[in-house]
Amino acid sequence: MVGKNMKVVIVEDEVMIARRIKGFCEQILQEKLDAIIHFIDLCDAEDYLAANPIDLLLLDLNLNNHNGFDLLKKASAQAFHTIVISANTDKAIEAFEYGVLDFVAKPFSLDRLATALNRVSENKDLNIKTKFLAVKTQGSIRLLKLEDIVYIKAARQYSEVFLIDGSIALHDKNLERLLTILPNNFRRVHRSYAVSLNYVNAINRFPGTKYELELSNGQSIPLSRNNYNDIMNEL
């Protein structure tokens, strides 16, 4: 998906900075860029995001004294990736906790923005600081603690998040995008499954090289042959 026809939204209240971000994006992504739209106003951006699917949001945290974190929480619950571009470097850690892909400090160079944009297509970064997954539930945003998540199952373009208390939450990001922002203890174990290694009790082998993972909540999920060695080594 990444690499072709990217739709990018910039939310930035300073015209000159927005122009710079836009120019850099065009240079970096070139023909991969499908559309790039700039919003000054947070509300306009929210309206647009609610109606139009995009791939990447480039967000300033301090917009005309509005708190960009409100938008950030909503954004991180959605399907697209978010990169924060802000002068408020003191907010970087907090932003990462909400599962942003990267935090670019102002002023920024072309190379720095390129690194950030490349992370959209990279598979994994070892230094992920996400602590919550934001999910939309009945119109509001619920923050799930990562340590409560047992495993995640792909459900078409969404993901089902299975929690230790037995409940299930639906996340708008697909499994691949979720894995990009989740830390290293979350592993792909199957085409449709990712698991938190903290909750794996044992690997069960069945006839015909079929594998299953036995989890501490009593459930079992399939483990594909391709991932067997990797998981075996980890445990």
Binding site: M16, I17, R20, H66
Partner: protein, 573 residues
Amino acid sequence: MAMVRTVSNLLLVSCLLLLLSLSLRANSLEATVEEVYFKIGDNESWKQPTLVHQDWRKRSVNNLPADKGTYWARIHINITGSQNNHEAQQALYLSVLGAYEVYWNGYYLARNGVVGTQTESEVPGHIYKVVAIPNELWTHGSHIISLRISNFNSPKQLREKYFNVFVGPLDEVNREFYSANLLPLFILGALIIVGLYFLQVYLVTLKQASVIIFSVLCFTISLLLIAETWKIYFGYTYDWHYVRLVIIELLTLAIAVLLPTFFIFNFKMKFKLAWLTASGLVVLSSYFLSHGYDVKSANLLSASFLISILIVSAALINKKQGASLLLCALIAITVFSIIFPFSFHDKYFVPSFTLFIGFVLNSLTLQMKQTQVERDQATLTSAHLEIALLRKNIQPHFVLNTLTSIEQWIDESPKTAIKFIHALAAEFRVLNTISNEKQICLQQEIALCESHIEIMSYRKDKTFVLKAINIDPNQWIPPAIVHTLLENALSHNNYIECEVVFTLEQIKDPDKGITTLLLNSPIQRNRKPTQGTGTGFKYICARLKESYGDNWRFENEELNDTWIAKVTIPLKT
């Protein structure tokens, strides 16, 4: 515990001493002054105890000779009790306005000054005299003490009234005198030091009316003490007695006026003039309405205490610090002075007043502490405001965003980038000159605002304009007031038009001595209500309060599509 023990020991010792003195007295001879007679004229034979004195006048109030001249007085005393082997030396205490010779049963005993037949030949006597009575004359029964007196130097006001005499053991007469007056001497020293201290406090640090009034009050009481005790420590001839009484009276009047005045200023009372007039009237009427020196003094002080109680009560109602303690002390001292009007003035006035001064001292010290705390607070606030002013424009968020914009201008149009950098430098330069000022002139403020909106024009790639109407460039204003308002307007609006005009107008009201600055900003709101107006407005209010106390107003309102901010401050200053 130790305290209680000390007190009980003291009580025990005093009881024993009292019993002892009573038992001694029961065993010795005691004299009582029975009658005093006098006759105008001069005759050597009038000293004889056998003289028949039918035509002599009996001494009563105001009936001593009204004219200057020579007269004789006969004092009848009766000595009772039983003879004792260790009879104490007895003495005669005399305080008479004149020069006189003293005879005991016709025998010459002593003289005070030289009795004369006219003003020139008289040598005035000491105001009082203690005459030791030889033991052989001190016998059971009636005795006649004769005085030959000339009063050529006596003041008219006292001539008919003043005549004091009593008889007692010499030791006791002396002891009563000196021990009773040792305490006032200590107090005198303390009062002078306290008075000097507060005088210095007033001159050097705390220019408050209450401080200097308190200092003057201490000195006045010291002078009163000196005047009161002068008789004993230094003495004077009888012709000075009236002068001393007048001095005492005037000093008492001064104290009676100063005391309520001190409270009025100390508690920073509202309606000062009304309070001052009322207390002045009360004290002065008690001065003019009462007669006799002791009565006048007693009434003056009572009136002063009563009006002071009113003032301190009003202060207490207004919850002034330290009022309750002072009120208790005042009520106690007043009740005491009403119950014992004369002995109060003679014996208890100075000690109780000193105690009272202690309370006042405490109250003043608390106030000084309060003032110090307020002053420190104000200094701290000023320091905070200075930092807040600097932070506005060197806060990382502002600088980093500005730098990012400059980068873009360097790529797009290096010439504009340079202008942008110059605008930024101009703002920093103005900030540098004003950052430690509490007030700047409006011209500087506008220069600051212009460089700020120029920076914002480059950042937002729009044209922001500040139009100044009727501006007096020399009007004083705390720094960055208009700047903060502009900043507020710029950060809470999303201006879409290419040109946005802000207007700053000054309206003067010379009659009231005030001026109003009006800043009109167009509104093009974000759809969401914005946050963060708090710190800017807090800065403005804190700055105005720092410069003008309560003498300012700051209002803002939205009218149609304009946000109007109004700052009203004193004209020029």
